[in-house]
Structure formats: structure tokens, C-alpha cells
């Protein structure tokens, strides 16, 4: 029986008793060693069925003799290791993750469930076609949705991520130019505000990059593009809406000018989530565009991947799309892998990756599309734009918009000019947000805004969440302009680690376990 008073429900002692703990742990936040420090070469967390071992097999002198040094852990130890590590990560499931240009929106768990159906997850890419008809049907359906949403007549699903999609689209441009005898064109026009992947992709294909500046309004003018165009230009790579969060109003004229100069128009589709259901890129005169399924269509970012970057094509470029492609042959779906008589695509530029692309992401993206429907996709775009503009008007008196106060698309860009009299920087503001329990916005990108802060709330956030983030950011800005700058410079203090020494990491790279692992493990 409980005693009369039960357990005490109010603390008996008040005041500060902060001290280092014996373990280094802080309540629910545990320190966690490396697997190499925890495990042993003799431990194993997997049991196997008995098997009739052959002493030598037929490996001969190719059999491994040297130890590898890999530590093992039992299953409960493995669970604990990774669960403890996970608790050191922020996630969209735990809070707003307003990384501009990255599109951190809700990841529905239905999509995870469906991607794990054995009919998809345990399907080999090289099984006979008659055993994978459902997978091909899913790819065909996804292709149809992507073409309808973008208003483009061609699509390939194979690129593995956004930058891989860029490579795919730019190769198609190069192939098309070569096909019409203009392969000597050697320049790609890229705005200064572009993602770094754009110039890197162009350079990979041997192109010279011609950089063009946006105007004082953050927009690309048709005059600036025309000035950069000549007979040497193979194409332009433009992001729309652009990386400043603005729709390019002269985009149709830009496309006409590019085509008139005999070049092609590549659109970086990273920001399709602002316009899907409201504007079709195909109507803008675009020739190729990748779609980040992990952005617009919500396949999880997974700590940096995997992504998926299907590319849609205009009539002019569609014939050059890579294989494989799904083709309907009456009731049967076939995979055109570019071979012999079955190869239907004489102009295809080749193969971009082994197998058929990121099927696991296709299942998730299609589930997302079917759940929203085209009406929901449009609503999601509108809500994303609504949320970004709400952020804008509620922050515009404390943060400066580098290109003036005007309506933005799905993300809003501020610079650091309101911090010019403060010792605090954009980085300090970001780190202070971390202490407040938020993941910061994208900082120092795009390069065209000094000390850039690019905020993309996405459609997944409620007004209450937006208000909480806004009020917090306003408070931080106030502290930055007052005498709180030193405090911001010290942030974060409530995280598993304080600011890390990135200079040391780069100057003395330690990229793998360097302990005497073999001795240490052998000694156990």
C-alpha cells in the first residue's frame, strides 16, 4: 500500500545545480561511442541456419586470410547504438525544417508502407518482363502524372537524384545539337544565383560556363540573357521559380530568345513545388527539366539521400532521352533497353545508370500524388506559397529583403543587412534558432544575397507553427541588435555538441576510425 503522502510531487530544492554528469549524458540525451569502441570482432548479432561447410570451396589462394577488423554487436546493442545516435538528429517529424531550396515537407508513412510491399521491394530489376508487369504499370502511371503536371511530352525516370537529372537533361541537349551538326557549341549560360550543381554539371560535359548576373530585382531579364547568347551557346540552365524565391516573369521571352539563338532551355525543377497544378513548365518553352521527387513529391530525404530525379522533355529533346523506357505493347508493358530490334529509340543518348532508376522512390511519389490528387497538388503549391508570404510579411520589419518587398513564391529570401550594426552574423542567428528547438533556414545561399537566409516553410506547417517560428526569429533579431550578440555567438548551447571546429576537420582530415582497431579488438 502507498504511504499516506505518496511520492513527492514538487521539487524540494530550487536553484541552479548545473554540473557535468558522471556519464556525460544529460537526461534523455546520451553520449554514444563508435561501433569500433563498443564492438568486438567475435561478436555477431545474426544467427544462421546450419550449413554443410566445405573446407576450401573453390576460392583457392583468393580466399581472404587477413583480418578485416570489423566489429560486431548483438541485436540489442545495435538497437541501442542507433537509437541513441538518432536522438542527436533533428527531423521534419519533430519540427519545422525550413531549409530554403530543400523542401522539407511531411513524409506520409503510407508511402513507406507501400514501397515495402514485397511485390516492389523484393523485385529484381532483371526478372523476366512477364513477372514485373505491375512494376512497369507503376512506372507508366508515374510517367503519365509527371508529363501531365508539367505539360511536357517526354519523360525518363532513370536519373538517381536532381544533379543526375541535370546531367541527363544536359546530355540530351548535347546529343540533340550533335544530331543537327552543331556539336561545336561550347557554352552554357548559368545565372549567378544558380545551384552549384548547374555549373558543375555543365563542366562535367566539357562546357564552358558563362555566368550572368540577375538584375537588382533578383530576376533574370530577357535583355541580360540576349546579351549572353551567341552561336557558341548550347543552352541555358535556369531555375524557376528562382533560388531567390521569385517567379521569373520574363521566362517565356527568355525561352523564345534562347530558341532563336539555336540553343536549348534547361530548367532546374528543384522549385516545382511552388507551381505544380498552377503553371505547366511545358507552357513556358522549357526543353528539359528534372523533378526532385524527394522535394516536390515528398520522398524522404533520409539524411542526404536517396533522391530521384526524373526528367521531362520537350518534343525537340524527347527522342534523345536515355533508355530504359517503359513501352506499351497492347496489354503488355515492355522495357525498352535499347537493344537491337526491340530497341525503339534510335536517337536515345544511351544509358545513365544500371537498371531502371529509383523504383522505391517511384512508389512513394506516386502514392503521394494519388493521395493528393491534382486538386491536392495544386492546393499544396498554393499553401506553400501562402506560408512563405505569411513569413515574409511578418518578418519584413526585422529582416531585409535584398530585392525589395514583393510577393515571393514558396520561399522567402532575406539578407544580413539588418545585422550590420550587430556583432552577430547570419550563422549566429541560425545557431540561436537551434537552441530554440528549430532547424534553421538555408544560410549563405543563394550567393547573390549577402549573408543570405532562405526560408521555405512548405505547405506542411500550420499557422501556429509558423507563428512560433516567426516570434522566435523576431526575438533573436531583437537580441542581435541589442546587447545579446555575444549570446548568439555562443549558440548553440543546448545541443549534443557545441559549434564544431570545421577548420581542424579540413586541415587534419580524420575520415575513418584510426585507433589501433585490430589490436584493440583482438585484445578483447
Amino acid at each position: 500500500m502507498m504511504n499516506r503522502e505518496g511520492r513527492p510531487t514538487t521539487p524540494k530544492v530550487s536553484g541552479e545545480f548545473a554540473r557535468d554528469t558522471f556519464t556525460g549524458n544529460k537526461g534523455l540525451q546520451a553520449e554514444e561511442a563508435l561501433i569500433f569502441e563498443l564492438g568486438s570482432i567475435d561478436q555477431c548479432g545474426v544467427d544462421f541456419d546450419d550449413f554443410d561447410d566445405q573446407p576450401d570451396g573453390n576460392l583457392g589462394e583468393l580466399a581472404r586470410s587477413a583480418p578485416i577488423g570489423l566489429p560486431g554487436l548483438s541485436e540489442p546493442e545495435v538497437m541501442r547504438h542507433y537509437v541513441r545516435l538518432s536522438k542527436m538528429n533533428y527531423s521534419i517529424d519533430a519540427g519545422i525544417y525550413p531549409l530554403g531550396s530543400c523542401t522539407m515537407k511531411h513524409n506520409p508513412r503510407l508511402n513507406e508502407k507501400l514501397a515495402r510491399l514485397p511485390g516492389f521491394a523484393a523485385l529484381h530489376p532483371l526478372q523476366p518482363e512477364q513477372t514485373v508487369q505491375g512494376a512497369l504499370e507503376l512506372m507508366e502511371t508515374l510517367s503519365h502524372w509527371l508529363m501531365e503536371i508539367t505539360g511536357m511530352p517526354g519523360v525518363t525516370l532513370s536519373p538517381k537524384a536532381g544533379a543526375h537529372g541535370e546531367l541527363c537533361g544536359m546530355i540530351a541537349i548535347k546529343a540533340a545539337l550533335e544530331a543537327r551538326g552543331e556539336g561545336a557549341r561550347s557554352v552554357i549560360v548559368v545565372p549567378e544565383s544558380a545551384h552549384g550543381t548547374n555549373p558543375a554539371t555543365a563542366a562535367l560535359l566539357g562546357y564552358k560556363v558563362r555566368s550572368v548576373a540577375s538584375g537588382d530585382d533578383g530576376l533574370m531579364s530577357v535583355e541580360a540573357v540576349k546579351a549572353a547568347l551567341d552561336d557558341d551557346v548550347a543552352g541555358i540552365m535556369l531555375t524557376n521559380p528562382n533560388t531567390c524565391g521569385l517567379f521569373e516573369p520574363e521566362i517565356v521571352e527568355i525561352a523564345e530568345a534562347v530558341h532563336k539563338a539555336g540553343a536549348y532551355f534547361y530548367c532546374d525543377g528543384a522549385n516545382l513545388n511552388a507551381i505544380a497544378g498552377r503553371v505547366r513548365p511545358g507552357d513556358l518553352g522549357i526543353d528539359a527539366m528534372h523533378i526532385n521527387l524527394h522535394k516536390t513529391f515528398s520522398t524522404p530525404h533520409g539524411g542526404g539521400g536517396p533522391g530521384s530525379g526524373p526528367v521531362v522533355f520537350s518534343e525537340a529533346l524527347a527522342p534523345f532521352a536515355p533508355y530504359p523506357a517503359v513501352k506499351r505493347d497492347g496489354d503488355i508493358l515492355r522495357l525498352d533497353e535499347g537493344h537491337g530490334a526491340q530497341g525503339l529509340k534510335a536517337d536515345a543518348f544511351g544509358r545513365l545508370t544500371a537498371f531502371h532508376g529509383q523504383m522505391g522512390m517511384f512508389v512513394r511519389a506516386l502514392s503521394y500524388m494519388l493521395s493528393h490528387g491534382i486538386d491536392g497538388i495544386r492546393q499544396a503549391s498554393e499553401d506553400a506559397v501562402l506560408n512563405a508570404n505569411y513569413m515574409r510579411v511578418r518578418l519584413r520589419d526585422v529582416l531585409n529583403q535584398p530585392f525589395g518587398d514583393k510577393i515571393c513564391m514558396h520561399e522567402v529570401l532575406f539578407d544580413d543587412s539588418s545585422l550590420k550594426d550587430s556583432d552577430a552574423s547570419t550563422l549566429d542567428v541560425a545557431k540561436a534558432l537551434i537552441d530554440e528547438g528549430f532547424h534553421p533556414m538555408t544560410v549563405y545561399f543563394p550567393l547573390v544575397a549577402h549573408g543570405a537566409m532562405l526560408i521555405e516553410p512548405t505547405e506542411s506547417e500550420s499557422r501556429a507553427t509558423l507563428d512560433q517560428f516567426i516570434d522566435t526569429l523576431r526575438d533573436i533579431c531583437e537580441r542581435a541588435s541589442g546587447d545579446g550578440a555575444a549570446e548568439l555567438q555562443a549558440a548553440p548551447i543546448h545541443t549534443p555538441r557545441r559549434r564544431l571546429d570545421e577548420t581542424l576537420a579540413a586541415r587534419k582530415p580524420v575520415l575513418r576510425w584510426v585507433g589501433d582497431e585490430r589490436e584493440a579488438l583482438a585484445a578483447e
Binding site: L70, V78, Y90, P118, P125, G303, A354, L370, E459
Partner: protein, 448 residues
């Protein structure tokens, strides 16, 4: 719509606060000529149950590896993945986090990437590894470009034993990056042919071990020949479990090792997402593509991890970057590292042993069938047989009986008559004696 938090009243009041009348005003910068007046002709929103029904119906039309005796390999392998792997990677903090650009709130991701890099380096016998690439084929293309930069040469020699689709990827990248490729005739890897092809302009030789046909090779002579000409040896490993039983590429003179890591932790997924591995020597670090996690300390002196050496990468270096790669295979590399940590060295060696033993058993049984010859004499868990009929038709007939009997080489190399009768079979720990019985009986039936 269940994923959107706003009510219409929220939307109205937010629009009022923004100072516009309607949501259309937010799209005023869109030229009126291109504003969609009506929605594209696609379905409207559907309940969770409804979507589940539609997508499950598609899944049911496929024959999964779990429902058939299964022997297909060729760069993707059906292994058993412990349940804890999939549970851990679905934790919100791993599944729904972004690239760890803010290290103070990403130590979980950064630490497992560091552990992953360490495991990959150990397994391949190399000094360093990156934090993953898209898959094995694209990692191979990146390795070739890396070798071009390191040697300041532009010609790669490609073994005929390389996976044909990997070769196709190299062909595409070579053609459009305007570099040279010497593709040797497809077929089981031959050291002498490769060595003969190396000259003073060769930047690298690309070899695969086990090769596409399953054969295993000592690569030391190729490495020596390459190094004598100032070229590098790139070793491709598409079945990473093989490294539990075989000498590592590093021990055989590799300069860059690339691999497909799917076999550890990741399902077949009809070809993706997978996890590309790239490991190399420390002296080549500055030309290595892709993200890398490095150890450092925080301002309290505690050990921590950050993304480092980003001066190689596109977001800093733009057109001068080592690669255009940005997104990689983060979550797949997590699955890889969890599975490998569960196995440990002891488990990996045993798993490899089981795979090899099962393969030897099946190869021996198949060779006893009238008309079937074993083409590969030394192999790990995959080997090639020849049959007295068109291999593609044999595979299709067995598929009609619910047996996924392997890969007809002609599926990937249709233009080579000498491969018309060849089947590549993979045997993993998932193959039971009963599966072998069904395959052998089925094959005898089809051939008789």
C-alpha cells in the same frame, strides 16, 4: 486533404494579413498567358485506403523474390536483411532529416557516416571512403573521371567482364565528357587481354571481381601492369558479400574501389535505391568525389563530426568541383552500416561462407544435368552455365512455372551470338535445398 493543416478560414485570414485578396494575387508574376485555367486531367484526391488499394493491386501483379525459387543476380542480390535494420532506418530522425549541414543537430547522421566510411575502407582494403554515391554503376563512372584527373590522361580500359550496363554507363559518360574508352570484348575477364590494352595514354583499367559472369580473379598482375604505365586500377565489386570470403581489392593493388552495396541492408527494389561505394588511397583524397564526414572537436573539446573537405564539392567550387553530385544514398548507407554492424567480421565471414558453399552445391548439381555445362570454374556465389537451348527462352519458360532461374546473358548482351546459351545464376543464403530441387527439376523438364 489529410496532409494539409490549413482550414479555409486560416487561408482567408493569412491572405488578409499578407494584404492580398485571393491566392491568385500571389501568382501575379506568372504571365497570364501561361496560367492554367483548369486543372490537368488527372485524378482528384483519394483516401489512404483507396491509394493503398490501387498501389497494392500493382504490387500483386509482380512475382517477388520471396515467392519463388530465386537465382537472379547480375549486380543485385536477394539477401536476408534482419528486421532491426528496417526498423531503425524508419526512425523519424534518420528517415526525415536532411543532409547534415547543421552539425550540432545532426551528430547521429554524421557519426554513422563516419562509421560507414570506416567499414567500407576496411572491407575494400583501402585507406579512405566517401559517404556514398548513387549506386555501383554511377560510382564506377565517377571513379573513371577521378582517375582521369589524377593521371591527367583521358583513356580508360574497360574489362569485358564488367557488368554490361555499367559499361553502357561508362560509354555514355565518356562520349559526352569527350574522353576515351577502350572497351574490351565482353566475356569472362581475361588478365592477358587487359594487360595488352594498357598503354602510355591509359589513365585507368576498370576490372570487376567477381566479374559479371561470376568468375573470380587475382588482380595483382593487372595492377602491376597498370602501375608500370602510370595508370590506376579501378576495381568494381557488385556483390559486396564476396569481400567476407575473398582477398580485398586493396590487397591486390587497387587504387580506387567502387562497389554496389545493395547486398548489405538493402532490398532489391527493382533496381533502386541502392548504395554506391567509393574507396581509395589517402593520397587521392583531394580528387575524390562526394560528401565525406570527418572527425573534429566542438568548442568544449568533445569529439564530434562534420561534413568536411567541401572545397571539392559543387556547392562551393561550382564548375571546378570534382563532381556534380549532391544528394547521395544516405539512408541506404545507414541500412548498409547497420547490417554490417549486426554481422561484424565473424558474421560477414560466415555469411560469405554460406553463400559460397550453397553456390558450389548448386553448380555441382546443375552440371550433372544432361546438356548443362558449368562455364565458370572459380566463383564466389554466382556462376555461368551453358544450356543446349536459347537461354532467354529457358528463363521465360521457368518463369512461367514460377521459378526465377537466373539471368540470360543475352538479356544484356543480345548482339553477341556466343552468349545465346548462357545463364548466370546467383545463390545466396536465401536459397533452400527445396529451391534447388525445383530449379533442377524445372530445368531438366525444359531441356528435355
Amino acid at each position: 486533404m489529410r496532409y494539409l493543416p490549413h482550414s479555409d478560414a486560416d487561408r482567408r485570414s493569412m491572405l488578409a494579413e499578407i494584404g492580398v485578396k485571393s491566392v491568385d494575387d500571389l501568382f501575379a508574376d506568372v504571365p497570364s498567358s501561361v496560367r492554367l485555367s483548369e486543372l490537368p486531367d488527372l485524378a482528384h484526391h483519394t483516401s489512404e485506403m483507396g491509394v493503398e488499394r490501387i498501389v497494392s493491386d500493382m504490387a500483386k501483379k509482380n512475382l517477388s523474390a520471396e515467392d519463388a525459387p530465386f537465382f537472379v543476380g547480375g549486380g543485385a542480390y536477394h539477401h536476408h536483411v534482419p528486421s532491426s535494420v528496417d526498423h531503425i532506418i524508419q526512425r523519424s530522425e534518420f528517415l526525415t532529416s536532411y543532409t547534415p549541414y547543421q552539425p550540432e543537430v545532426s551528430q547521429g547522421t554524421l557519426q554513422y557516416l563516419y562509421e560507414f566510411q570506416s567499414q567500407v575502407a576496411m572491407l575494400t582494403g583501402m585507406e579512405i571512403a566517401n559517404a556514398s554515391m548513387y549506386d555501383g554503376s554511377t560510382a564506377t563512372a565517377e571513379a573513371v573521371l577521378m582517375a582521369h584527373r589524377l593521371t591527367r590522361r583521358e583513356k580508360a580500359v574497360v574489362s569485358g567482364g564488367l557488368h554490361p550496363q555499367y559499361t553502357e554507363v561508362l560509354r555514355t559518360i565518356a562520349k559526352y565528357s569527350e574522353t576515351a574508352l577502350n572497351e574490351l570484348a565482353p566475356g569472362p575477364q581475361l588478365a592477358a587481354t587487359i594487360i595488352d590494352a594498357i598503354d602510355d595514354e591509359t589513365s585507368c583499367v576498370v576490372v570487376q571481381n567477381p566479374d559479371f559472369f561470376g568468375g573470380i580473379h587475382d588482380l595483382q598482375d593487372i595492377a602491376d601492369a597498370a602501375h608500370a604505365k602510370g595508370a590506376l586500377m579501378i576495381v568494381v565489386v557488385t556483390e559486396i558479400i564476396s569481400l567476407g570470403a575473398m582477398r580485398s581489392p586493396g590487397e591486390m593493388g587497387a587504387d580506387i574501389v567502387v562497389g554496389e552495396g545493395q547486398s548489405l541492408g538493402n532490398g532489391l527494389n527493382f533496381g533502386g535505391p541502392y548504395v554506391g561505394l567509393l574507396a581509395t588511397r589517402k593520397k587521392f583524397l583531394r580528387q575524390m568525389p562526394g560528401r565525406v564526414s570527418g572527425q573534429t572537436v566542438d568548442q568544449n573539446g568533445q569529439r564530434g563530426f562534420v561534413l568536411t573537405l567541401s572545397a571539392r564539392e559543387q556547392h562551393i567550387r561550382r564548375e571546378k568541383a570534382t563532381s556534380n553530385i549532391c544528394t547521395n544514398s544516405g539512408l541506404c548507407s545507414l541500412a548498409f552500416t547497420i547490417h554490417l554492424t549486426l554481422l561484424g567480421e565473424k558474421g560477414l565471414r560466415k555469411l560469405a561462407r554460406i553463400n559460397h558453399t550453397r553456390a558450389v552445391k548448386l553448380a555441382t548439381r546443375l552440371a550433372e544435368i544432361e546438356g548443362v555445362d558449368l562455364v565458370t570454374d572459380r566463383y564466389f556465389n554466382e556462376f555461368t552455365i551453358s544450356v543446349p537451348k536459347d537461354a532467354g527462352q529457358v528463363i521465360n519458360k521457368l518463369a512461367d512455372q514460377g521459378i526465377l532461374a537466373g539471368l540470360a546473358v543475352s538479356r544484356l548482351l543480345p548482339d553477341h551470338a556466343q552468349f545465346k546459351n548462357l545463364i548466370v545464376l546467383a545463390v545466396t543464403e536465401t536459397v533452400s535445398d527445396g529451391d534447388m530441387d525445383r530449379l533442377c527439376a524445372g530445368l531438366e523438364g525444359v531441356l528435355s
